[in-house]
Symmetry: C2
Subunit: 515 residues, 2 copies
């Protein structure tokens, strides 16, 4: 309609809350994904790839309030479909479809979809990467649980985050038991639990106010809760609880505490005990958890404008900011979180937890009532891990597993007044180099100036130039030049080699350069 | 409603036309994907990962009739979105959004979506994997085109399909020129082209009938077309055309033929000339092609009931069947293909082309009118490549890059009357093995019989068992047993080693086994 719309310019943008991955970002994504995958394989996880959409009925009733964030496909006269919200429910659906499976260790790497209000500055995206591993089937008590936590440790050690992350753990049974002991009425346990879960971003007094004023809890009950949920620590906190007669007389709490003891014994063997913090305020949102729960927080996820993955919760430890989005991890319930709190665009908030999970023993039964397949799993928020890694690299840190994606050798032609800029000769050289596994390219425009070709070689990060010239060609020679040699270096201008010695020469130089 | 619906059993199935990838299939998928990716990287392709959905406007008007196969998302009060139909249009959209890019080599590996009638037996899926590489930006004439074809060769050589595939090539300019020369009216060129494209599955007489009876072409014109489009070959066919004065007087055909000559010169250098067949009947469906077009056919894609990816076209060479679905590759137009022909469920049809592509010089302009970014690309239909590879493996063929996904060492506990089946001790062993990069697991149920543990080790494909016993433990020893040794072998029952020598022993055995 508008006058300036003469040109038939079409819309060119991404859907809201999505991004394209390219350049350094995708190199980081691949490097980090590969590290995580290696750990999963070391622990004998087997990959499962499920469709990006599921039948709406499969997802229905699995995510509580957050179901409103599910992307539905249009009913086009076939099945009713939705994009997957996480990878846990598809795994449970797959287990239900394969009744012969007694135990399984599956991992999955893929994107999931949440039709949330996007907040790029906080990294709350609508499409984001997730990296999950889950163990299905019975194990000796707490054995799978402990191994799951050892995977978390191994992943972050492999990512070279040593000493910079904490695994907060708690157990739903301890939490529910202590609410009972404190006198929380049964019907209020979930809602009080979700209030407690906010202790990582709100002071106790505000949480108490929510419990008493909004949720109608007796003040004395709230005060009793305080004596528990403000505690965190390790073995010594567990020992305190073991001496708490009121708590130990509650069967749920007792069972949870006994198994927490066993878990810590195993964690010591897994060399993971010093990485955890037993935190009685950790509750996590999803309804389906039945036992141990955990989330991983890290130091130093600086405020960023990068499309950094944010989180549904955040650590109480400085300097990580305590507010986040909803990405990469099972979300906590939002019912009582004010819009303002949760959706502020304040760029000073950083990313929150980078991994989270827990035990869910009854999800498969939802699909197959006679199934008895208890599960435990963890989800890594790769987008957030990337954002933090990127910020650390920007500060000058190095990670051994991240290498620049470079061209090894850039093939150029000098002169080439003859047929098409010596393209046929360039092909011969490219074939020889590539057949030797050397990543080579050339500038494919016709008759480009040598200067332009050097610029392109530089852009490609190539440490070596292979330069063809007509005179050299006639003598069966080619020039090999290491880029960036100092003035005065005898090889600064390159070295002529016989065509048949080219590959060996380039290989030798690369070995020296990469040393 | 029904009486037998007492149990609250929920729906457990995949959406129609989709599948879960697990077990050997996903191992194959990963191995093949990795081989292709290695080639792309060797040619300095850079990965681009775009969202699984795009704005509907981005896809609109790009796929002709097949637009009806696009999955739309529900309008939930935000943007109108659709699942991607291929990876070419998202790449063009990305190029348009990045006007600074002059040249680029992007690859993409992901799933695409087509709401077609699924036909599992023919492998026509609604969600399937695609693996694309595209070069954007000007090059010396036919240089990028020739390199693209050399990628196809390198991929199939790397997949160890040597001698078992043919790259059919043609050029839209030659085709359009010869139609003009034969007297096809301008407005009928596309529809006649799509009739010609069926020569790989129909005899000439039927194609002629379609042209004359359905499309109203003069019979004499059809007869002239026959003299061209039933020809295929190599250099010699090109030489015949070069001598064809009528054809050479048409500017389009002349340009196409001259550049085909140049292409063949380059292909000889790329060592790819013997892999191609210059086939004047190849037309391909998509409107956006402007120059060279190609598709790859292979021998021996046997009829199968596996979820094998089928194709939009098929080779004329036996024993590949000549009918297919629509997966994995840009589709040919379907207007004139009868439902019966294209959708028959005849299980005797195999998979068709396994890769296809061509030059498309004006797609980016659709998004940014001032753009001048000619492109050329190829799409590999991984699902089909997997189906064929699987069938060949079933016949006993071996592929060096496909290895069984096995556990290296299975940790067992014998006895374990003490605490929880020696789980703490097992952890120590698992930690030591895994830290050494050895893929280890244990049976995680409590107090399993040794027989059951051996069964699990066997299922995991583990060539080595590490067996803990209480007495051995007390002496600081552990037993290492190579599985499947012959009766009478002195090490058949395993060898006791000191705990501190365990890793070295397992490593040594693995090296011997994998030799």
């Amino acid at each position: 309609m508008a006058k300036d719309k003469k040109k038939s310019k079409e819309v060119v943008k991404n859907p809201k809350g999505t991004r394209d991955w390219s350049g350094e970002d995708i190199d980081l994504l691949k490097a980090i994904r590969r590290q995580i995958e290696k750990v999963f394989e070391n622990y004998r996880g087997l990959e499962l790839d499920t469709p990006v959409f599921e039948l709406q009925e499969v997802l229905k009733g699995k995510y509580g309030e957050d179901s409103k964030l599910i992307y539905d496909l249009q009913d086009q006269g076939g099945e009713l479909l939705s994009l997957r919200y996480d990878m846990t429910v598809p795994f449970a659906r797959w287990l239900a479809m394969n009744p012969d499976i007694e135990t399984w260790r599956r991992y999955a790497i893929g994107k999931v979809y949440r039709r949330d209000q996007p907040a790029i500055s906080k990294g709350r995206m609508r499409e984001f990467w997730q990296c999950d591993i889950d163990f299905a089937g019975e194990s000796a008590p707490m054995f799978n649980d402990s191994e799951m936590i050892s995977i978390i440790v191994k992943v972050f050690e492999t990512l070279e985050w040593s000493g910079r992350y904490t695994i907060k753990i708690n157990d739903r049974r301890i939490l529910d038991g202590l609410f009972e002991v404190c006198g929380v009425p049964a019907e209020k346990i979930r809602t009080i639990s979700s209030a407690v879960d906010k202790l990582d971003k709100l002071p106790w007094l505000e949480v108490k106010k929510e419990m008493v004023e909004q949720k109608g809890l007796e003040e004395s009950v709230a005060d009793r809760i305080q004596t528990y949920v403000t505690r965190k620590g390790g073995k010594e906190l567990l020992e305190e609880l073991q001496k708490d007669e009121a708590l130990m007389s509650n069967p749920k709490a007792k069972k949870g505490i006994e198994e927490m003891d066993l878990l810590m014994r195993y964690l010591r063997r897994w060399k993971a005990l010093d990485k955890i913090s037993f935190d009685l305020s950790l509750a996590r949102g999803l309804d389906y958890y039945t036992g141990i729960i955990y989330e991983v927080v890290t130091e130093g996820s600086a405020p960023t404008r990068t499309p950094a993955p944010a989180t549904d919760s955040a650590p109480p430890m400085p300097p990580v900011a305590t507010n986040g989005g909803s990405n990469g991890l099972p979300r906590r319930e939002k019912k009582q979180v004010s819009e303002d709190d949760d959706r502020s665009e304040d760029p000073s908030v950083g990313v929150g937890s980078v991994a989270a999970g827990g035990r869910y023993d009854h999800l498969v039964e939802r699909f197959r009532p006679d199934a008895n397949i208890p599960c435990v799993g963890v989800s890594f928020g790769i987008d957030r891990i990337i954002a933090i890694t990127k910020a650390r690299i920007a500060k000058g840190e190095k990670f051994s597993y991240i290498a620049r994606n470079r061209t090894d050798a850039y093939v150029m032609a000098f002169g080439g007044s003859g047929f098409g800029g010596m393209f046929e000769e360039r092909i011969d050289v490219l074939v020889a180099l590539r057949d030797a596994g050397i990543r080579a390219e050339t500038f494919w425009k016709q008759k480009a100036k040598l200067q332009k070709q050097f610029k392109e070689a530089d852009r490609a990060g190539a440490p070596i130039a292979v330069i063809l010239g007509e005179d050299e060609q006639a003598r069966g020679e080619v020039k090999v030049k290491q880029m960036g040699l100092a003035e005065g270096d005898p090889e600064k201008e390159g070295v002529l080699v016989k065509v048949e010695d080219l590959v060996a020469r380039v290989r030798g130089l690369l070995a020296k350069i990469d040393e």
